[in-house]
Symmetry: D2
């Protein structure tokens, strides 16, 4: 209820601060019988972990996850899965300065107003380090969705600052540190990031996430629509400022004849809906897109105030990501997987094992 | 749990179908002692109700709400507030055709897959008629926020198809049927809508919603961030395909030095954050913007299939809104108010009546 | 969250005060396709309604329920079911006296402390009149359980004050106004109640509730055990002061060899567990027993204080039940049915439609 | 949602199996600013931990708890508190026999039906070992209640098999391994338990729990009554088969004049209500009593079946408690504290920091 849990039937609750002893999560509601090992989670965690290229923070965290419960003889038992990652690289940095300052565009100011106290070391609970547990939990959902239902959730970088990536070649996404689906744009991205680092600045990004193989019928009417839950999940990722489903803000200038995805016996003729109609999946690919703001930890000085209300000049010298969007792809995938898993279980509660095949009609054509 | 409730401490649960007997809601969690009458709710309902201009559906529904419980001698008692609106204009139309067709871009196809049965009359539960109850429930939240905390939630049309409204004059918003904040653009809107109606087509829109006077410290970390809950709430409105907070998708091309809202002892120097940092309110105005797709009920024929998978041509001849965005402003305001109310109660649970004054520093400058 | 909802997947939310305009409920989560009419609910409501014999309150309420949504062409659609009962017999009694008094053992004193205001007419929200909606909602659960799963939930009066009913003849239960399963004891009950009414006093009672045909495997580990949820549900009924499962408080003096229900290939040899082991159903009958306190609305004067703290003598002259236990059987059945329904849906979410047959082994012998 | 969480605003989620790697919990919703160290939790854990006398299981577990998050510089920060206890004494016992058997009155049979798989080592998730995390989490609630509100929660053994403890001397409770409040009965208890151990049998028990200093006004109407939540919490403890509030089952034979707790300006004249009226605290002590069944792990052979349905004779030779009631007192205290903490936060959400003093009137006389 204090906002550290997500999902109603597949529920992920996380704890942990950036520079605390450990991060942890409890995944409650995973059905029994799923084959699961720590390696299954580590695979996804390694995609998010820091320090894998010169374009991300240089904090060295192996992010090694332990499964402490809920798995027996290699299979889930239906009981809650306890996950733990010990923090290993909390440098004994001097925090005396940051302690009394509110860094602009960080949560320092708001946490202080909410709680009256705050763990100021590395952002404490507001640090994106927390998302490691989402990736670990999401890996469980992804495995279930893939193995049991043939649902594949994957994402990619579609824009980095001014650089818009138009071509989508899934085979390229994991071949570079940007999750960029177009190999021809890599040099451009490298150069842009190098310039940015020299400048001491940061930049925003856009990530697209797609779920294929989702059967029609997942979702709820009214408040917990599939797209509303996705918006909740994706907007809850650090630095996200916007969420689109399907045609998104493009719908504003569309006419009805243009937007409506016509159906034929051979499938849908377009996917402006992004795979969701009336809050419920249509069998087409689920399409979501998110905007991530530029990180606010900059070497370039900024104006702010201290806890006493006095003006201060803030310079952030720690280890930070110049583009938080770069490492956001696995996090967005994890959140989409958790939402789909949750809605699959809700669907099963209400309807039992109705045959959720994906007939020809749902194949349709998607935006991608 | 089936998605018909919203809010954890201020909880709104709705029921009702477009052409059923009645719509209803239970508002649970309203603190005792709030002065409340049916007129308080009716005021907001009248802004949303159909048939107020030639640009909206001609269905005649007075949307008269009854308060059935939870109010005694003019004040809330802390017990659940039961609300009821009887449907009066469910025309005894022949639904035999629509019964077997899946209208493109409607929830017909997905409801059928989810439930196996559906109330096909006027869209049943998927109809935007359900939002009347949100407006009624939201009116309670708005009254509490306004009277007790001085928080004002209000919205306006910022774009209708190609027509972008740049000027914001709050005094104009309720002077026209479009919720348009610029009187100089009304003729343009009228003409556009008249052409559209002749054409038999529909168009998308963008609505902005703003909450002023929100004290700093409302929100939760991680999953139930204030902005994530807003995204959930706003994306749950019929036809919404995108949600932005603050700079939104504009953040993608911003550099950190540009995006970060610097602070001075006199306040914030900008509001790219949209009033939320780390998921918690900063004391600046909360800024949200939503994209609404064009309605899919068109006189222009579209391809689809029937329940047997055969191709059909669908023409919708009923009473419909050519731009659902026009009536969406009160709904978006209601949902934002419900989210803020919920987070105010959560804040009070965790922190008690901490002094939530809005010192000078929070005044700052907003985007608007 | 304010305590007016019950159930996580089959969720019942109620509203309404004793002397307000109406009582209502929203039942969210009922699977689609269940045949349902108002008559199905009325049947159970008529068993609970007041004024059916001289031993209950003489308030005349037909308790006629309307189904306002969620049912289409005689079947549930999967959308929320809105229920409404208008109050018809709120006598325009003079409440000026009760308004300022705290009746002993009523909720007057505690509601005043909790809310600061209270609807003092007939107990307001604290009145057992609210349970009418539970019975209506429970009737939906009972119908589903009976038709789809062959589960039968039924209860009976097992003790009224000093009169312990030892014999259980189910065919008698609905043949008398006491829900007494032994016809030979009816005269004794009648006489006792007549004496009590003359005396102006009231008396406690014990009700047993049994669910037969429950498949093994329903329930959750740890906090939401089936028995824990039953305890919650049953203790939430007005006037209930104790809940037992199976051997209940008798277990305190049992040795392990006596308590443990041994199994053979032909079934369990006893049912001290009451059909629940480790929080999960065993396939044996679920056995629960509840204690109801005597009502506190008495003609015999009692000491109390008024809202100003002054001593007063309280005499209750209204229409009241001298033994609230008499009408409690349908309420207890309803609550047990709601719990079982909720756990059935939870089971289906986690395990899908696993074959939940009831093999010979589960038949066993029960306490009854 | 899968039953491993308790509490709506003060939420405890646990994980861990008897013979898994570790037990853990996340406590979400603890207000910021509470002084808290591991020693605060260890104190309560040491009261529950095994092996402290010859009358409990001889498994050697130090139950050393680590606080992994949510506490900074000795104070809670308002973020989730992660707790961890590593298991250290999971003997490499041969489980091949137990693996295929359903021990009578254990959860073996029901877990198998629910999940299809089970961690059979030491009962897995169904083991009372899980309650260690409840005690740790409860210690946080108890500290808050005591320090901030002056509420004291404590319990004692009131019956062990045939031995009823009538005298309540709180100072004795922690002076003996039975939590017995009467020093004169200790020899009797020792002798009884020694005989029982020789016999190879087990016995039931009754525990009373009392909360003093609870302000009036905590609780909710209808479903989440304070007593209903207590019943839920207490019945969720392993081996509990009955819960009473106040006069409990004694109410069945009480007349209204006897049961109703009259009020005078000097306070209540009795406490049959057990401190709860209409689901809301009255300011009197909260009184609850629970029945615990005898453990079913016995050296005396019992009939059962194996997973193939064949008859087997079960003999349990491991380390077990002959009376699980003996170590149940700290668990019951923890659960009551968690419920009160949760309702205190709910109260604060709805009413803010209303002055919750305990005027003279509430002191009253209690049953104890």
């Amino acid at each position: 209820m204090s906002g550290n849990s997500f999902g109603k039937l597949f529920t992920v609750t996380t704890f942990g601060e950036s520079h605390g002893q450990a991060l942890g999560a409890i995944v409650d509601g995973c059905p029994p019988g799923l084959s699961l090992t720590e390696a299954d989670l580590q695979q996804d965690l390694d995609l998010r972990k820091p320090g894998t290229s010169r374009h991300t923070t240089q904090r060295r965290e192996p992010d090694e996850v332990r499964i402490l419960s809920g798995v027996f003889e290699g299979r889930t038992t239906g009981t809650p899965i306890g996950l733990l990652i010990e923090n290993t690289d909390q440098r004994s940095k001097d925090y005396s300065k940051i302690k009394d300052q509110f860094r602009p565009a960080h949560a320092d100011y708001t946490y202080m107003h909410k709680y009256g106290v705050r763990d100021y070391r590395g952002g404490g609970r507001s640090s994106a380090r927390e998302t490691a547990m989402r990736v670990a939990a999401g890996a469980i959902a992804r495995k279930f969705l893939q193995e049991r239902l043939g649902i594949r959730v994957r994402g990619y970088l579609s824009q980095l600052g001014p650089i818009v990536i138009d071509r989508l070649d899934w085979s390229q996404v994991h071949q570079n540190p940007f999750f960029c689906p177009d190999a021809d744009r890599l040099q451009e991205l490298e150069d842009y990031m190098d310039d940015l680092r020299k400048e001491g600045n940061s930049i925003g990004a856009r990530i697209n996430v797609v779920a294929e193989g989702v059967p029609p019928g997942l979702g709820e009417p009214v408040f917990d629509r599939l797209d509303a839950d996705l918006a909740h999940a994706l907007m809850s990722i650090n630095a996200v400022k916007g969420v689109e489903i399907g045609a998104g803000f493009g719908s504003v200038t569309q006419k009805g004849t243009e937007h409506r995805d016509e159906l034929t016996p051979d499938g849908f003729l377009s996917n402006n809906a992004g795979g969701v109609l009336g809050g419920i999946s249509s069998g087409q690919p689920i399409l979501a897109s998110i905007a991530l703001k530029p990180t606010s930890s900059l070497r370039l000085p900024g104006q702010s105030i201290d806890v006493h209300g006095n003006p201060v000049e803030v310079v952030t010298t720690g280890r930070h990501d110049p583009c938080v969007g770069i490492r956001a792809t696995p996090i967005a995938e994890a959140m989409m997987a958790i939402v789909l898993m949750d809605h699959y279980l809700r669907h099963r509660a209400q309807n039992g094992d109705v045959q959720i095949d994906t007939p020809d009609i749902e194949k349709g054509r998607s935006r991608d």
